[in-house]
């Protein structure tokens, strides 16, 4: 889901939601229903074998099955009112096969054995029909079967077990704090997701996974009715691969920044952030409009994560590089010849960017991807040089590789899995450096926090980013708040202007909860870790207009 849809969603009631493109899955269910235990793995194995056997008997040379139960609880509030609570469940089976060297896929919510067998037959029939326009057969990198295994997101508090009333009480407290501190309006939301996925393939894998994600967020609006102006400030939280414990607001996970600003690592104080946000939204109404020009940028992880996502994450997706996304998301400037040259300077020597499906507490972390490949970590950019991509089993041979790096994902049982972004993170600096230390060294700059407007071209060269908070830095000091700020750059130029990194004590993860890709569009969730980072001489424009 794109940000625009989300804004529409949070402002609407249920009847208005029916026609909009929100990723609410399946059926509304009772809260109690969300706590029903996962289906027995032995039963799922039996159903999976029905599909695998049916596919093979109809001529499939490979088949995989995902039996998925997807749970969501979304809570939407506005000022002192609960707008909507969505409890949803989606349960069904998706079957993917290779027949005549071509992929086929079919899915059904009817999980009786005879329906599953029929669904597998349909998948094979689709593969055979499409094979008439297939030129080269699909060639899968080998993956040894892993037998019967299971994995769960390490949780302290399963969010679905927390009473709805406790969640509403929290959001009411958040909204009340914002209103008392000068907000004209506030919307706050909680998103909880649980994917119970059973994967089986003809390679001999039977993988049962229980994956949890959480995202608390809000938008505070301050209005100056006389002047006809309004400004917003969004939450500085990050979506996480965690349980409800993310909302504990532990003091040990608060990172004090310059000028009394607070950042959060793996524990979020939503009430505190809303209180501060309301004051900052009011301050924005009177903030100085930026003078366009070149500035040194000091970018907070809660902001830089999105720039990493767009300019490195999407650019190094192998399916884009090869042209599979040409009709929608686009291709990539990070072409194979640049990778082959082993000397393409994606960024300065300080830039080390890794992909992983293993970092604790992150959105991308799983034990196995949606084609049974174990989670890994690998370099994408090493000492500034492009060294690798993100790939799935049917792509990795193009890189001369013999095993997939595990980037296959589907957002539901009825969606076809394809290459999706793992966590993509910038490694912290090795020299000891805090944010305050970094700011001290900047003569003319801007310190930017939070995700704002973002746009990048279809090959990931030219981008423009806004933010939530902009502070002017003069001669090593923050001197006040700025408004109407957006920076524009070119990916390679930007990452080559990377001049300084804070150390591991400042490293935090940013997350994208509803990242969209594919036709029909699917969402995925992914984290991006980084420290506060300095970029020199970046072009900043003024976005103020009058209508």
């Amino acid at each position: 889901m794109r940000r625009r849809d989300f804004i529409q969603l949070s402002g609407l009631g249920m009847s208005a939601l029916m026609g909009s493109s929100i990723p609410v899955l399946g059926n509304a269910v009772s809260v109690h229903h969300l706590l029903e235990p996962r289906a027995d793995a032995a039963l799922k194995k039996k159903l999976a074998d029905v599909a695998l056997n049916a596919a093979k008997s109809k001529g499939a040379t490979y088949a995989d099955v995902r039996i998925g139960r997807y749970l969501q609880q979304f809570i939407f509030t506005r000022e002192m009112k609960v707008q909507n609570i969505t409890n949803a469940e989606s349960y069904g089976i998706g079957i993917r096969v290779i027949a005549n060297g071509t992929w086929g896929f079919s899915a059904t919510s009817d999980v009786r054995p005879e329906a599953i067998a029929k669904c597998a037959e349909t998948a094979v029939a689709i593969a055979k029909a499409n094979s008439k326009i297939q030129k080269e057969p699909v060639d899968l990198a080998p993956q040894k079967g892993v037998g019967d295994v299971s994995w769960q997101t390490p949780l302290k508090k399963n969010a679905f077990e927390v009473p709805v009333q406790e969640k509403i009480d929290l959001l009411m407290k958040v909204n009340d704090s914002a209103m008392k501190n000068g907000a004209g309006f506030v919307t706050s939301n909680l998103f909880f997701i649980n994917e119970q996925k059973y994967f089986a393939s003809t390679d001999g894998s039977y993988i049962d996974q229980d994956i949890h994600r959480i995202w608390p967020t809000f938008t505070v609006t301050a209005v100056d009715r006389q002047a006809g102006k309004f400004k917003t400030r969004d939450a500085l939280s990050s979506p996480m691969g965690m349980g409800y414990e993310y909302l504990d607001g532990l003091a040990s996970d608060k990172i004090p920044g310059p000028n009394g600003l607070i950042s959060y690592r793996n524990s979020y104080d939503m009430v505190e952030d809303a209180t501060v946000a309301a004051r900052q939204a009011k301050e924005k109404l009177a903030a100085k409009s930026i003078q366009s020009g070149k500035y040194d940028l000091v970018l907070d992880p809660n902001h830089l994560g999105l720039t990493i996502h767009e300019s490195v994450g999407h650019a190094t997706e192998l399916d884009r590089v090869l042209g599979y996304e040409a009709n929608y998301a686009g291709t990539s400037f990070a072409t194979l010849d640049k990778w082959k040259s082993k000397n393409f300077n994606y960024g300065s020597k300080l830039v080390n960017i890794v992909a992983d499906k293993t970092q604790p507490l992150t959105l991308g972390t799983v034990a196995y991807d949606d084609e049974g490949v174990p989670g890994k970590e690998w370099d994408l950019i090493k000492d500034g040089i492009l060294v690798n991509y993100q790939a799935t089993r049917d792509q990795v041979k193009i890189l001369g590789g013999t095993e997939s790096n595990g980037c296959s994902y589907a957002d539901n049982w009825d969606s076809i899995q394809f290459q999706r972004m793992p966590n993509v993170s910038l490694k912290p600096g090795t020299e000891k450096r805090s944010v305050s230390d970094m700011i001290k060294g900047v003569d003319k700059g801007i310190y930017i926090m939070g995700r704002g407007s973002y746009s990048i071209d279809q090959q990931r060269y030219n981008f423009q980013f806004g933010g939530q908070l902009f502070y002017e830095i003069k001669n090593g000091q923050i001197v006040g708040m700025l408004d109407d700020v957006a920076y524009q750059s070119n990916t390679q130029e930007f990452w080559n202007s990377c001049a300084q990194l804070c150390d591991k004590d400042d490293y935090r993860t940013f997350g994208s909860f509803f990242d969209g890709k594919g036709q029909p569009s699917q969402v995925s969730a992914v984290s991006h870790g980084c420290p506060t980072t300095r970029f020199n001489g970046v072009n900043v424009i003024n976005t103020g207009r009058k209508i």
Binding site: A16, I168, R225, I547
Partner: protein
């Protein structure tokens, strides 16, 4: 799966309501089949078919409401979903903005269901794509495309006896063709309710022409230019106007339709007087449901008439509070135009840029509707009434409100698919002066 007829839907909804013990109950029923074929590098990458049917029940006791849905339509399931909605309603906090369900309404007639689309099979879909592939391979270009069709219906009934039913079909086709060396790229998209209007071969010829024509693009300095926006490019900017017509936000001072002093811009001229933007569910080129999800009648309504803001969209609660008619958000949007063809508009341009597609549109400032994004898949320099050469892509920062104040000319409206939302609209090509390009992109 067979789609429910009007009579079948009515009888099913009556059955659901017969289980209700709540003060009020409203039931929405949607069902449909969606089929798609996706291809890239001249080969099918994925394809699929999906059928869905959902009954959603909203039960209310006083001002407490609960919503539940189910996708099984047997009697036991239908009763279960009603009980579930009632349980949730009993547990819910009172909603101070609750509004009682509507009395029966009168609806306009809108024909949005076409057999030609409803009867598409995987073979027909594959054939439409194969013809397109043949066309692009003649020029040895790499094609990536997507064809998706839908047939379905929506229906609703409430405890005051309101009943509504609307069947519809739709097909969207999009295609990007690129030269093998990646120096040229062209795009086309088509959307119809009636599949028989979709000609994938002629559409493909357009994408091929743009692709070949875009090779060898030259860089122009960013700055303010006269632009001709093809409808596919214009619509993604105008969509931010269409989706910000909400009266409550304007009344609350947080919309582009708010103005200093706490009032709204209704009745004020905000754009060029040639701009008229309206909705009409009965338009044969762009049929839409004649009722909204809560049962309100969709009528022909002007949002902007001759440059003046005429109407805003209301929730029923906000309309009641303000004592005005509860105009629902638009079911379709049409922008009136002139008679000029795109070619005529190019001929009358001394110096300008033809923009065929825009990409990655994001709001920069909701106060002014300032948007940013980039040109893509074919951008051309016009001099003395002729296309001179392709130009490199630009990033723009522009507000559709400012843009429609700088209007030079409007062409003939045509049905387009938004590359941002996939919604269909009727939009004319338009010539705009002083459109703001702020930087260059190397992307092709």
């Amino acid at each position: 799966m067979a789609l429910l007829t009007e009579a079948e839907a009515k009888s099913l909804l009556q059955k659901v309501l017969s289980y209700s013990k709540a003060d009020e109950c409203e039931v929405n029923l949607v069902g449909g089949e969606r089929g798609n074929i996706r291809y890239a590098r001249n080969e099918v990458s994925t394809s699929g078919a999906m059928s869905t049917q959902t009954v959603q029940v909203r039960s209310s006791f006083g001002k407490k409401s609960g919503v539940a849905a189910i996708d099984e339509l047997n009697d036991a399931s239908l009763e279960k979903v009603v009980r579930r909605a009632e349980e949730l309603a009993q547990l819910a906090p009172e909603n101070p903005e609750y509004v009682s369900v509507l009395e029966p309404q009168q609806y306009l007639k809108s024909v949005g269901y076409f057999d030609s689309t409803a009867k598409i099979t995987p073979a027909i879909r594959a054939e439409a794509v194969a013809k397109s592939l043949q066309e692009s391979s003649k020029q040895k270009l790499a094609a990536a495309g997507f064809l998706e069709d839908f047939r379905g219906y929506s229906a609703m009934m409430n405890s005051k006896g309101l009943f509504a039913y609307y069947p519809s079909t739709n097909v969207n086709f999009s295609l990007t063709v690129r030269t093998d060396d990646g120096t040229g790229s062209g795009y086309v998209t088509r959307g119809y309710s009636d599949f028989s209007k979709l000609d994938t071969v002629s559409a493909t010829k357009i994408a091929v022409q743009k692709c070949l024509g875009s090779v060898g693009a030259r860089a122009l300095e960013p700055g303010k230019y006269t632009v001709i926006l093809e409808p596919t490019a214009a619509v993604v900017l105008l969509e931010s106007i269409f989706s910000n017509l909400d009266a409550r936000s304007a009344d609350e001072g947080r919309s582009f339709l708010s103005k200093p002093g706490g009032k709204t811009k209704v009745g004020e001229k905000i754009v060029d007087e040639r701009v008229t933007i309206y909705s009409d569910p009965t338009n044969p080129e762009l049929p839409a449901a004649p009722w909204s999800g809560d049962g309100r009648a969709q009528e022909k309504i002007n949002w902007i008439e001759k440059g003046v803001v005429k109407n805003m969209a209301y929730s029923r609660f906000w309309a009641q509070k303000k004592g005005v008619k509860a105009v629902p958000p638009p079911a379709n949007v049409i922008m009136a135009g002139g008679t000029a063809s795109l070619e005529d508009m190019i001929k009358s341009t001394q110096r300008g840029i033809l923009v065929t597609k825009l990409w990655y549109i994001r709001s920069v400032d909701p106060q002014t509707l300032l948007l940013t994004g980039l040109t893509r898949d074919g951008t051309f320099y016009i001099e003395n009434g002729k296309i001179k050469h392709p130009v490199k892509n630009f990033r723009f920062n522009e507000s559709p409100v400012i843009m429609l104040n700088n209007l030079e000319a409007l062409g003939k409206p045509e049905r387009v698919v938004s590359t941002e939302s996939t919604a269909n609209y009727l939009i004319p090509p338009m010539k705009i002066r002083e459109f703001t390009f702020s930087s260059l992109s190397d992307a092709v």
